[in-house]
């Protein structure tokens, strides 16, 4: 049972001395899979399980193929503004692979991979980004939150969801994902603070891709790490290599275990790099050098895992080709299905404003129905 209320801690008397440290903190950093594909000895158990690694690899490739198709659809006028997750697939897949189906994902707008992994259909995601609310009425994880556009507001939702779980004594956790820019907002701090006070079973994952549209990480905060922002809220914060899907999954799993044990929330900062523009409406060449982008390509998450699979698990060219073929076929089929979906009736613009429509909106609805 989490502490709810007033188990207050008294001031201890052993601080009579003048010069002692009032508190001490550390922010660990973890990476198991290096950019060259070498796996550290300390890697978690699942990192030596071939089928698990293939599953993670497949998830990341699927995410990237979805991304590629989404951008192609946008560039040909068949999708709206879209936020790519290029280079950050390990965050989405690491998070989703660590979660249980009954946990609740509270994403920002760059977690397509996690949504797909958890059962949101790709055509539903295309539908949302194509400008149709039904894309957020997805058939998969019905309690997961939809994409969150107002940056950082989602953290508090995750705390509310986690608080509901603990109030009902349910063995579940919420997982919130946000970007580096979101850590400058009050909502982020308010969420962590409340989660700390109530030991809410929530995991906060920050995809630090180094850029908040045009503002680089160094201009976002003077803090040495984003993970240390957890310390002010009294919850643990740690950093992982966000291009190492093994490290991300392991960190989220450990954080989820803490949450389920009633030990409260955790902040995980995943260090990644945004290889794409912010969205399809952005032109990153206005504010960042191509050379910087190129220098980060060798760190991207899929190649290092393929290297590990090839060298340690005999992953073959045929297997690679078959996997890519299957994924491309599935993405193409989803894209085709999306393009076949009939538009909503005009009345849909009013129908979901309230559970029961007020008189004035009923009149509007009647007019729309006659169109």
């Amino acid at each position: 049972m989490p502490l709810l209320g007033r188990e207050l801690i008294g001031m201890s008397d052993d601080r009579m001395q003048a010069a002692v440290d009032a508190a001490e903190f550390r922010i660990p950093f973890k990476r198991y899979l290096s950019a060259d594909g070498t796996l550290a000895d300390a890697a978690p158990g699942f990192a030596s399980d071939r089928s698990e690694l293939v599953r993670l690899y497949e998830g990341m490739l699927r995410t990237r193929a979805f991304d590629t198709e989404a951008i192609a659809l946008q560039r040909t006028g068949r999708l709206g503004t879209y936020a790519s997750s290029l280079g950050q697939e390990a965050v989405a897949i690491g998070v989703a692979a660590a979660m249980r189906p009954e946990d609740v994902l509270v994403p920002s707008f760059r977690e397509h991979g996690a949504q797909i992994w958890r059962g949101v259909r790709m055509e539903e995601l295309f539908l949302y980004w194509g400008g149709d609310e039904r894309g957020s009425d997805f058939s998969g994880p019905r309690e997961d939150f939809p994409v969150c556009v107002p940056v950082g507001t989602q953290y508090c939702h995750g705390v509310g969801v986690g608080l509901a779980f603990s109030l009902r004594h349910e063995d579940r956790c919420s997982v919130v994902v946000g970007g580096d820019g979101s850590t400058s907002r009050g909502d982020f701090h308010e969420a962590m603070n409340m989660a700390g006070v109530w030991k809410v079973p929530a995991v906060f994952v920050v995809n630090n891709n180094q850029w908040a549209i045009s503002v680089p990480r160094a201009a976002q905060t003077a803090a040495q790490t984003l993970a240390q922002k957890a310390i002010g809220a009294g919850i643990p914060g740690e950093q992982v290599d966000g291009c190492d899907v093994i490290a991300v999954r392991d960190a989220v799993e450990r954080a989820l275990d803490r949450g389920r044990r009633g030990e409260g929330a955790t902040l995980i900062e995943c260090l990644t790099y945004r290889l794409s523009d912010h969205t399809t409406s952005d032109d990153a060449t206005r504010y960042r050098e191509d050379a910087e982008v190129s220098s980060h390509w060798p760190e991207e998450p899929t190649v290092r895992l393929r290297t590990l699979l090839t060298e340690a698990h005999g992953w073959s060219r045929d297997e690679e080709e078959a996997l890519r073929k299957e994924i491309n076929g599935a993405v193409k089929a989803a894209s085709d299905a999306y393009l076949q979906i009939d538009p909503q009736p005009a009345t849909a613009i009013v129908d979901y404003t309230y559970a029961e429509l007020p008189t004035d909106l009923k009149a509007v609805r009647d007019q729309l129905a006659e169109r």
Partner: protein
């Protein structure tokens, strides 16, 4: 049946809701052991425990934000913001999330939360403690904005607000929290939302108002009765979505419309009602619509507060003005 003040009626409704529905949780700053700064939650923490009545950190945006998360999970959070002057920080969560969660998920996730706050002036409160910003919330589709003006209506409307499947902003007129008592049937009977109340029937002029100032309107109607004017006094009660039909029927009947509110004039909710009268009841009007409101100024600190608030005399003056038209 009990004789209660408005704030006691609020507490009774909260208690009833906690009792009848295990999904209801009350949360906010100082709502626990302290019972709220106005005592609206007095005794609830002691009776229902810390799993139902939660003292939160000082975190208005957070309170609204976690309420969205709780509500999406099927809980029924009833959150208190200590004073309406501090509610601005919740607007992002209320407008971007609470109000539209149903719409943006086509009904998959919903947000049955209530955000309560004492509002309005007249209690000699410090800076930022006397605002009336109901129109800001009334402009947001997907929200309901409800303001009771008596203990009975506080009890019945708050129960409705809590039972409603959509987010409700519930503003409590603190000037009349303890101004008078009324018999309230504590039977769990709710009052309808989206319904205006006719507080006094009359034939000559419709005086439309909400919140604490409805008391001044009723008193003004009594004064005017002495001058031979039969005023009808209406309490809008639910500002969003509002019951235009009842208001328009009254204006068509009397031919005169005076709107009274404590909020600044421009783009106040009175402007919406006046526009609606112009659209739907103009042919029945014998006098121009009059608004009795403070000017577009910051609420003064207590020493000059009475210069700001509409008074009974201001309402009488406006009624006399519209009665001059025949």
């Amino acid at each position: 049946m009990a004789e209660l003040t408005l704030v006691e009626a609020v507490r009774s409704a909260l208690s009833k809701a906690l009792e009848e529905d295990p999904a209801v949780v009350v949360l906010g700053e100082d709502v626990g052991i302290d019972g709220g700064v106005f005592r609206a939650t007095d005794g609830l923490w002691q009776h229902f425990g810390s799993g139902r009545v939660l003292d939160t950190p000082l975190s208005e945006a957070g309170i609204a934000g976690i309420s969205v998360g709780l509500a999406a999970q099927g809980m029924k959070p009833v959150a208190e913001i200590q004073f309406q002057g501090f509610i601005h920080a919740t607007l992002d969560q209320m407008a971007n999330h609470a109000a539209r969660l149903r719409n943006r998920t086509r009904g998959r996730l919903t947000c049955p939360m209530v955000l309560r706050a004492p509002y309005g002036g007249g209690v000699h409160a410090p800076e930022h403690h006397s605002e009336s910003i109901e129109a800001i919330f009334a402009h947001i589709p997907g929200l309901r904005v409800v303001i009771p003006s008596s203990p009975q209506r506080a009890y019945g409307l708050l129960l409705s607000a809590i039972r409603d499947p959509d987010p409700v902003v519930f503003f409590e007129p603190k000037r009349i929290y303890r101004a008078f008592k009324e018999d309230v049937a504590l039977d769990g009977e709710a009052l309808p939302l989206d319904k205006a109340f006719v507080l006094r029937e009359g034939q000559d002029v419709s005086v439309i108002s909400w919140g604490a100032v409805t008391r001044d309107c009723l008193e003004a109607a009594e004064v005017m009765a002495g001058e031979g004017v039969d005023a009808e006094v209406l309490d809008v009660a639910t500002l969003k979505p509002y019951d235009a039909a009842t208001l328009m029927a009254s204006v068509r009947k009397t031919g005169r419309c005076v709107i009274v509110h404590e909020a600044p004039r421009t783009a106040g909710f009175g402007a919406e009602i006046a526009a609606r009268v112009a659209e739907e009841a103009l042919d029945g009007l014998v006098a121009p619509v009059r608004r009795v409101t403070p000017p577009d100024i910051i609420p003064p600190l207590p020493r000059q507060e009475q210069l700001y608030l509409p008074s009974k005399d201001d309402v009488c003056t406006a009624i006399r003005e519209v009665m001059a038209w025949q």
